[in-house]
C-alpha cells in the first residue's frame, strides 16, 4: 500500500470535521503549550533561587561593601517571599519583560534578539548540511546493508559521535583556516565587514542578500561553513543512522516487494516509496536534531568565537545572571514546543492519515 492510495479519502473526511472540534483541538494545543511554558518557568525560577550562587555578588562584585550589597539585594526583590517573587516575575514576563541582564546592562529580550540569530543561522546551515548528506548516506547504507558502503557510513557516523567537538573544531580551524586558507577564521565575519550592512533579520547570510552585498555574503559564508559543517557532521551522524534503520524496516515490507514485482525501477522503489514512508519518523528526528543545535552549541561557539545563544547562556549561568538564564530558557523551551508543533503539522502534510 503506497501513500497515493490513501490520499483522497482523508481529505473528504477532513472537510466533514466540525469547526467546533477543530477549535477545541486548537485550544487544547494552546493550553498545553502555555502549561508547558509556565512549568518550565517555575522550575527554572526555583532552580535559580535555590542554586548556591549569589546573584547579588554577581552584580556588585567581590569588593562591594555591605551597604551596597544590601541595596542591590533589595532592588532585586530578594527580600520578598519566594512565591511573591515568582508572581512578580510571571507578571513581568507576561508583558514581554525579562528584566535587565546583569552582564550586559541591557534588556534580556534585546540581548536575545542580538545573539539568537547567530545561533539560528549556524544551526540552520548545520541542519541543511546534516540532512543533505545524512539522508542519502542512510539510504545508501540501508540499500547496501552489510556491504562496504554500509561499513563506511557506519564508520563516518561513529567517528562523528565519538570525537570531541572541541577537538574537531580546533583541528578543522588549523587545517582549513590555518593551513589551507579555504575558510574564514573565528567570528561571523572578518572584522572589517562587521556592522557595515543594516540588521534586518540578524542572519548575515540573509541580510547581505537583502542589501545586495555579495562580498559580505561570501565572507559570512566562508566563516559559517566550517562551524556549520562540524555541527552538521554531528547531526549527519545521527540522521544517517536513523535513516538507515527506518529504511531497513521499510525495505522489508511487503509493499516494497509488490512494487518490485510490478516492475517499478529500483530508484522509484527506494527514493519514492520506501523513503516516502520513512519521511514521517525522519521529520521528528530532524526536528529534534535541529532543536538541539538551536539551543546553541557552547563548545563550538567558544572555539569559533561565535556570539550565539549557547555562550550567552553559559556565561549568564556562570555569573548567576538569572534574568538572562530564564530568558534564554524560555527561548529554548519555545523552540522545542514550536518544533514539536511544526513536526506534528508536517506529519499531517506528509501522512494524510494523521489529519
Amino acid at each position: 500500500m503506497s501513500d497515493a492510495v490513501d490520499t483522497a479519502t482523508p481529505k473528504r473526511r477532513g472537510s466533514s470535521v466540525p469547526l467546533l472540534k477543530r477549535l477545541k483541538s486548537l485550544i487544547t494545543v494552546l493550553l498545553t503549550v502555555l502549561l508547558t511554558l509556565v512549568g518550565l518557568l517555575f522550575v527554572t525560577f526555583i532552580i535559580g533561587r535555590v542554586m548556591p550562587v549569589d546573584p547579588v555578588l554577581a552584580i556588585v562584585g567581590e569588593r562591594a561593601s555591605q551597604d551596597i550589597y544590601d541595596a542591590a539585594y533589595k532592588s532585586l526583590g530578594l527580600d520578598k517571599p519566594l512565591l511573591v517573587q515568582f508572581g512578580i516575575f510571571l507578571k513581568q514576563i507576561a508583558q514581554g519583560d525579562f528584566g535587565i541582564s546583569n552582564l550586559t546592562a541591557r534588556p534580556v529580550s534585546e540581548d536575545i534578539v542580538r545573539v539568537f540569530p547567530a545561533t539560528l543561522e549556524l544551526a540552520t546551515v548545520g541542519t541543511i548540511f546534516g540532512v543533505l548528506f545524512g539522508v542519502p548516506m542512510g539510504v545508501m547504507a540501508a540499500v547496501n546493508e552489510g556491504k562496504w558502503q554500509d561499513q563506511v557510513v557506519r564508520f563516518v557516523g561513529l567517528f562523528g559521535y565519538s570525537m570531541p567537538i572541541f577537538w574537531i573544531g580546533l583541528v578543522g580551524l588549523i587545517i582549513f583556516y590555518g593551513l589551507l586558507d579555504w575558510v574564514g577564521g573565528p567570528g561571523r565575519l572578518d572584522v572589517y565587514y562587521e556592522d557595515v550592512i543594516p540588521v534586518v533579520t540578524g542572519l548575515i547570510l540573509v541580510d547581505s542578500l537583502i542589501e545586495g552585498d555579495l562580498d559580505i555574503f561570501w565572507n559570512a559564508f566562508s566563516h559559517i561553513i566550517l562551524p556549520a559543517s562540524i555541527l552538521g557532521y554531528y547531526s549527519l551522524a545521527y540522521i544517517s543512522r536513523m535513516t538507515r534503520s527506518f529504511m531497513l524496516e521499510q525495505l522489508s515490507q511487503e509493499y516494497i516487494t509488490t512494487a518490485r514485482v510490478k516492475g517499478l525501477s529500483e530508484r522509484t522503489v527506494i527514493w519514492r516509496h520506501a523513503l516516502g514512508n520513512v519521511m514521517i519518523p525522519l521529520i521528528t528526528v530532524i526536528a529534534l536534531s535541529y532543536a538541539n543545535l538551536l539551543e546553541g552549541s557552547v563548545l563550538t561557539e567558544i572555539i569559533f568565537a561565535w556570539p550565539g545563544l549557547g555562550s550567552y547562556l553559559t556565561t549568564a549561568l556562570l555569573s548567576a545572571d538569572m534574568n538572562a538564564v530564564i530568558g534564554g530558557t524560555v527561548v529554548v523551551g519555545l523552540i522545542f514546543v514550536g518544533l514539536n508543533l511544526l513536526s506534528d503539522f508536517l506529519y499531517k502534510v506528509v501522512d494524510p492519515r494523521a489529519r
Binding site: I68, V143, P186, V191, N219
Partner: protein, 535 residues
C-alpha cells in the same frame, strides 16, 4: 548504478562548496592604522566609568576617558602626572586639594572641559554609590557633604576637601583611578532618566575626552574605538581599535599567526611556547597586580596558632609550581603589595621545607598533623595550586579535603567567614599601596555583625588593632619616602605573622605581531593605553 549517481552527487556538492570557498575567503593582515586585539572581554558589564570595575573595563576607560591625574604609560615608574588638571596645590592642613583644569581641551562631543565637569563627575561617583565609589568615598565624601567637599570655584578651578589629612600621594593616586574619570556633564545630564545621573545611558554609551571614542560595543563580542584626532596628550597612530572577545587561547593563537589579529592577550603557556620560534611574532612579559594567596580562618582553633601558620608557609612548593603548571604566568612573590607598587617588598623568605614545617607543627602540638578543608573555585590554575598544596601538606601529616565550587559559591563562603583555608587571588583596586594594605592589613572591627566583607583581614577573622593603626598612619604620612618605608616594614611583619600566605604575582604574557610597537599592558598599576601603539 544508483549508488554511483549518489556518490557523484556528493562529490559534486563537495567540489562546489570547496571551490566557492577557496575563491572567497579573505586573509589580508590588518591595515597599518588599525589595531585588532584578541582578548576576553565578557567581564565587561557596563561602560559607565563610575560603575565598571573589571579588568577589561579599565582598558576601555583608559582610552575613552581622562582623569584629573594621569600616568605616562611609557614610563609608569614616574608615578602620577598632570592629566586634565595641569597643576594642583595642597593646603597646609593637608585636607584641601585645589586642581587647576587645563584650558582649551574638549570632550569628544566638542564641549569644553571645565571644572564644572570635574565637579559633576566626582559628585556623580559619590551619589551613584556603585561598587568602585569607595575609592573616593574613603576620603569622607558622602551624599550630605559632597556639594561642599567637591566644588568648582570657577570654570577652571576645582577644590576638593577631605575629612582628614591623607598622604597627598594617596589622594592623587586615587584620582588617577578609572572611577575618577571626568565625564562630559552636559551630555550625561541630557540623558538622565528619573534621577539616575545618566547611569542607564552611560552604561552603553560614552561621554569622554580620551584618545579614542566609542564606536560600538557588543557585549561579550567586541568593541570598537576610533581616534580622537584632537587629543591633547598625543596624536594616536592607530585610527581604529577593534577588541574582539576570543575566549579560547588556541583560537587567539591561530588568529595571531594568520595575521588576523595584532595582539593576543590570553595565550596559555602551551601557546606562548608554540609561537616562540615564529620571527613574525613576539611575546611581552609584564608583571600585573594580581596576587595569589592562601588564607586561614582565625576562628579555627588550630589554624589560629602562630606556629601552625608559620609551618604552613614552609609546606608550599612555590618554585615547583612556577616552574611547572604556572610557568610564565606567575612569579614567586611573598608580600601583599605587588612588585612595581610604591613600598614593594622583594624578600622571599619561604621555600618548601617539609622537615622545618614538621618541626614547627610539632612545636604547635600537632606532630601528627591534622585535618582541614581547602575551598577553591573551579578555575584550572587555582585547582592545580590547591592540589599541589594538598600534596605537600600531606607530607607533613596534614590531610586536606578540597571543596570546589563556582566563583560565586566559594566567594559566598569566604565572605561569610564559613571556611578553614581559602585559595584566593586579589588585584589592587587603585594605583596606591593603601588599596592592598587596607584589605590585607586592616580590620577595624572583627565582630561578625560588623560585616566588613570588603576586607580580607575581616573575612579571615584576623583581629589586628596595631596593624590597623599602622595602615591608617601610612595612609596619612605626607613624606613620600617615609611612607614607602612604612609599607615595607608592615609587609615584613605581615609576611611572618599574618594568616595570609602570599605566593605568586601574575606575569602577563602578551603575544603580538613583531611590527606592533608600544603596546604596554599597564603593569600592576593601570591598564592599556592604545595611543602609544605604532606599527
Amino acid at each position: 548504478m544508483k549508488i554511483k549517481n549518489l556518490l557523484k552527487g556528493l562529490a559534486f556538492a563537495t567540489a562546489v562548496s570547496v571551490s566557492a570557498l577557496s575563491a572567497t575567503a579573505t586573509y589580508a593582515g590588518t591595515p597599518n592604522n588599525v589595531l585588532v586585539v584578541a582578548d576576553r572581554i565578557d567581564d565587561m558589564t557596563s561602560l559607565d566609568p563610575h560603575d565598571l570595575f573589571e579588568f577589561s573595563g579599565t582598558d576601555y576607560v583608559n582610552n575613552v576617558y581622562d582623569k584629573l591625574v594621569s600616568f605616562d604609560p611609557k614610563n609608569l615608574s614616574k608615578g602620577y602626572q598632570p592629566g586634565l588638571a595641569d597643576s594642583w596645590t595642597v593646603s597646609e592642613d593637608g585636607k584641601t586639594f585645589t586642581f587647576k583644569i587645563a584650558k582649551g581641551r574638549k570632550f569628544h562631543s566638542g564641549n569644553d572641559i571645565t571644572a564644572h565637569d570635574a565637579e559633576y563627575s566626582l559628585r556623580r561617583v559619590v551619589m551613584l554609590k556603585k561598587t568602585p565609589s569607595f575609592i573616593l568615598t574613603q576620603f569622607g565624601f558622602n551624599e550630605e557633604n559632597v556639594e561642599a567637599a567637591i566644588k568648582a570655584t570657577d570654570d577652571y578651578t576645582l577644590v576638593v576637601t577631605t575629612d582628614e589629612k591623607y598622604a597627598p600621594s594617596f589622594v592623587l593616586n586615587c584620582f588617577a583611578a578609572a572611577v575618577a574619570s571626568i565625564v562630559d556633564s552636559k551630555l550625561v545630564q541630557s540623558n538622565e532618566v528619573e534621577g539616575d545621573w545618566g547611569n542607564k545611558w552611560l552604561q552603553t554609551n560614552s561621554a569622554g575626552s580620551g584618545a579614542y571614542s566609542l564606536v560600538k560595543w557588543k557585549p561579550s563580542e567586541s568593541y570598537r574605538l576610533k581616534e580622537n584626532a584632537d587629543y591633547w596628550a598625543a596624536k594616536p597612530a592607530m585610527k581604529s581599535i577593534i577588541v574582539r572577545h576570543i575566549p579560547e587561547s588556541a583560537t587567539q593563537r591561530l588568529l595571531l599567526e594568520k595575521g588576523d589579529v595584532d595582539v593576543a592577550r590570553n595565550l596559555n603557556p602551551t601557546d606562548v611556547e608554540g609561537i616562540s620560534g615564529n620571527s613574525d611574532l613576539a611575546v611581552d612579559n609584564d608583571l600585573r597586580g594580581r596576587i595569589m594567596y592562601i588564607s586561614m580562618n582565625q576562628k579555627d582553633p588550630i589554624l589560629s596558632k602562630p606556629k601552625v601558620r608559620e609551618a604552613l608557609r614552609y609546606l608550599i612548593d612555590y618554585d615547583g609550581m612556577v616552574n611547572s603548571f604556572l610557568k610564565g604566568q606567575y612569579v614567586v612573590h611573598q608580600a601583599f603589595l605587588p612588585l612595581t607598587y610604591m613600598g614593594e617588598l622583594k624578600d622571599k623568605p619561604f621555600k618548601l621545607d617539609i622537615e622545618k614545617g614538621k618541626k614547627l607543627l610539632a612545636e604547635a602540638g600537632h606532630a601528627d598533623g591534622f585535618e582541614a578543608e581547602i575551598i577553591v573555585r573551579n578555575a584550572q590554575e587555582r585547582i592545580q595550586i590547591a592540589q599541589s598544596i594538598q600534596n605537600t601538606f600531606k607530607q607533613a601529616g596534614i590531610n586536606i579535603s578540597l571543596t570546589q565550587g563556582t566563583g560565586k559559591q566559594i566567594l559566598g563562603k569566604y565572605r561569610a567567614r564559613d571556611f578553614q583555608i581559602y585559595v584566593g587571588a586579589w588585584g589592587p583596586d587603585y594605583p596606591d599601596p593603601h588599596t592592598n594594605a587596607d584589605t590585607f592589613a586592616s580590620n577595624p572591627d572583627n565582630r561578625d555583625e560588623a560585616k566588613l566583607t570588603g576586607k580580607l583581614a575581616w573575612r579571615n577573622s584576623w583581629d589586628i588593632p596595631e596593624m590597623t593603626a599602622l595602615t591608617k598612619a601610612a595612609a596619612q604620612e605626607t613624606d613620600g619616602a617615609k611612607r614607602a618605608q612604612m609599607y615595607v616594614d608592615m609587609q615584613k611583619e605581615h609576611q611572618m605573622t599574618s594568616p595570609f600566605v602570599e605566593m605568586f604575582q601574575k606575569n602577563e604574557q602578551t603575544g603580538r605581531s613583531a611590527n606592533v610597537q608600544g603596546f604596554y599592558t599597564g603593569s600592576a598599576v593601570t591598564g592599556v593605553y592604545y595611543w602609544t601603539v605604532t606599527k
